[in-house]
Symmetry: C2
Subunit: 376 residues, 2 copies
């Protein structure tokens, strides 16, 4: 089977290397690259040479960004070519449009690498759903922020210090806002809602990152038996769903609290199989390349993931409700003392908590907030 | 597709219930039961009525035990029927024979439910192996012993007290030796060696359970930053492999140390995808039934797991070597003080450690031993 790779950066190179060294029966016959980087006879800068080539069955998009990835993916699907992508931004933004186009031409959209890197997360959800309903999911979906929090805990260091370390190691971008403000996790949460709940997710889900997390917050919560992790979460019940991205104060003896370095841990709960958790490298050339090649092999083996968002669960924020802790100089309605420097506000939906946090931040830009679920 | 279920105990009922309530296109057309329990028109006590029925494509073995399960599985495979089983004892004992028979008639042997209950462990190994070599695996594969150790830690209770609690909850058998002496984990380790390393595993792998674990051992090791878990482990390198079942003193901040109640956590390491860990319910009617139905659905979707043990890695015990701690009144060669009541012996293979432990036990029947790996 012939495939094309779009973009020859870290991930594109990883896909090409894994296929050439480890997979038989699949050939990377074309690679799309910029006109000044055509260093390999398979390379072209003209997408028409790929999308018009009937021998190419699968297009593996490794470019990142919204455009031209969005247009190239749609063009490939319109030609009946299946698309493998690790691009969470473009899938989160256009999942519904991609699914409708794929279904119209009987092409497949394969997105394993877009969430959780090498973890078989998307395929596991699809497998679970053959039998069960996925009732909720929750996870550490961003390795950079886990690396920062883990470093703050283990080294007793400040946020800025560990962020600089993460940047030096290449785990964090020079502009780290997509990671530390929760944008990356929001994209992965939107994608997981689509796969787990067959629903085009509300784009404006409440999203709070860890930019204001201080060493003192970790110490104060640890004294209460809690650690802090940035989680993407979703829940469905009775035809409705809710989702959110926010810091969560998890019990220190939970698996989540003990995820080290830049690893991911993503969980689901389902009707008959019960809770399942998956741990692994959420990023990196080889893990992400591995996930994309697994998608290619699934397609070659005849597995065709099929999404259908016509069911349309209703967005119902109150389904994701818990207590919240805040560290802020602002005075909050219903606040009770909780621990050194923090107050507790009971029974907020994630949407309402985000509103309260925005108010708190308008008064005190250093404010920090975390959900405090009753368990796990 | 028509299938037959052999045995209508907890798991057999779970399979029947999940298929009838949640799966379309699959029908349980026959059920094998004892002559005095034929309460359903699909039931028969005559296996010939199942194995001679050409409409039945898959036989789901839920009887447990070695015979007649062994004979029934071979008969079904010889007729070209594929077999789904959760019976770790029979697969561990006859894996090689089953694989040769399945390959001779182009039938499939599907064993997801034999290790890790509802955790997609076997399928994940097979998927990983499409690209990578699995270099090692390690895991909490027995919920009963995890429940006992977790209860001892959290309640500060003695072994016998938590064992009685586990028996009252139905997590442990009246005769608990298969669990607490490591026999169940040995079966699962033998099966995982087969799937991960394409090798008919040495049956006599070193096996030590947790029968002599005392509350004082947990306290002493905790003071050294370690918890205790009963792990099944395997490793392959350079054409050789080793495997063992034994208590392991894991770092208290590891995921393993924090697995609660009767859950399982099983890990693998592989060339490009890196470490992956899988957590879930390792037993129970619905999780185990779910895993068996997933096997039926994989078969229906055209996935045919294929094993080939002709490669034959060499049994090489020294590949699994680490330091060990002992609590014993026996005097051991090379023993150094380690912690309150325990000594350390460096650099033993698991086979050698088992020999040392057998000597220690011959002197002091209450002796306890745990591997002390340098990390994780």
């Amino acid at each position: 089977m012939k495939i094309a790779v779009l973009g020859y950066g870290t991930v594109g190179k990883g896909v090409d290397r894994i296929i050439s060294e480890r997979v038989s029966g699949v050939e990377v016959s074309r690679i799309l690259e910029l006109p000044d980087r055509l260093t390999d006879p398979r390379m072209t800068s003209d997408y028409a040479q790929i999308v018009e080539d009937d021998d190419i069955k699968v297009v593996v998009e490794c470019m990142g960004g919204l455009e031209p990835a969005h247009t190239f993916i749609l063009d490939a699907l319109a030609k009946g070519k299946s698309v493998v992508t690790s691009n969470k931004a473009v899938v989160a933004a256009y999942f519904d449009e991609f699914v409708r186009q794929a279904n119209a031409t009987d092409a497949s959209l394969l997105i394993e690498a877009s969430v959780g890197g090498g973890i078989p997360w998307i395929a596991s959800i699809e497998k679970v759903r053959r039998i069960d309903e996925v009732t909720s999911f929750s996870g550490i979906m961003n390795g950079t922020t886990n690396f920062i929090v883990d470093g703050m805990v283990k080294e007793g260091a400040d946020f800025d210090q560990v962020l600089a370390e993460a940047q030096a190691l290449g785990y964090a971008e020079r502009d780290p806002s997509a990671d530390i403000d929760g944008v990356d996790v929001r994209n992965k949460t939107i994608i997981t809602v689509g796969v787990a709940f067959d629903t085009a997710c509300e784009k404006d889900i409440p999203t709070t990152g860890i930019r204001t997390l201080a060493k003192g917050d970790l110490d104060a919560l640890r004294a209460m038996g809690r650690g802090v992790k940035l989680l993407g979460r979703g829940v469905q019940r009775d035809g409705g769903y809710a989702a959110a991205v926010e810091p969560v104060a998890v019990p220190i003896e939970s698996l989540e609290a003990n995820v080290p370095s830049n690893f991911n841990l993503i969980s689901l709960d389902a009707t008959t199989v019960g809770p399942l958790k998956f741990y692994g490298q959420g990023a990196g050339m080889l893990p992400t390349g591995n996930a994309m090649v697994q998608d290619v092999l699934d397609f070659a083996a005849g597995l065709r993931p099929h999404y259908d968002f016509s069911r349309g669960l209703e967005w119902r924020p109150e389904l994701l409700t818990s207590d919240y802790v805040f560290r802020t100089k602002a005075r909050l309605d219903g606040a009770e003392p909780f621990c050194e420097g923090m107050v507790l506000v009971r029974g907020l939906s994630a949407v309402r908590a985000r509103e309260v946090f925005e108010y708190a931040t308008s008064v005190d830009a250093t404010s920090f907030m975390a959900a405090l679920p009753q368990e796990g």
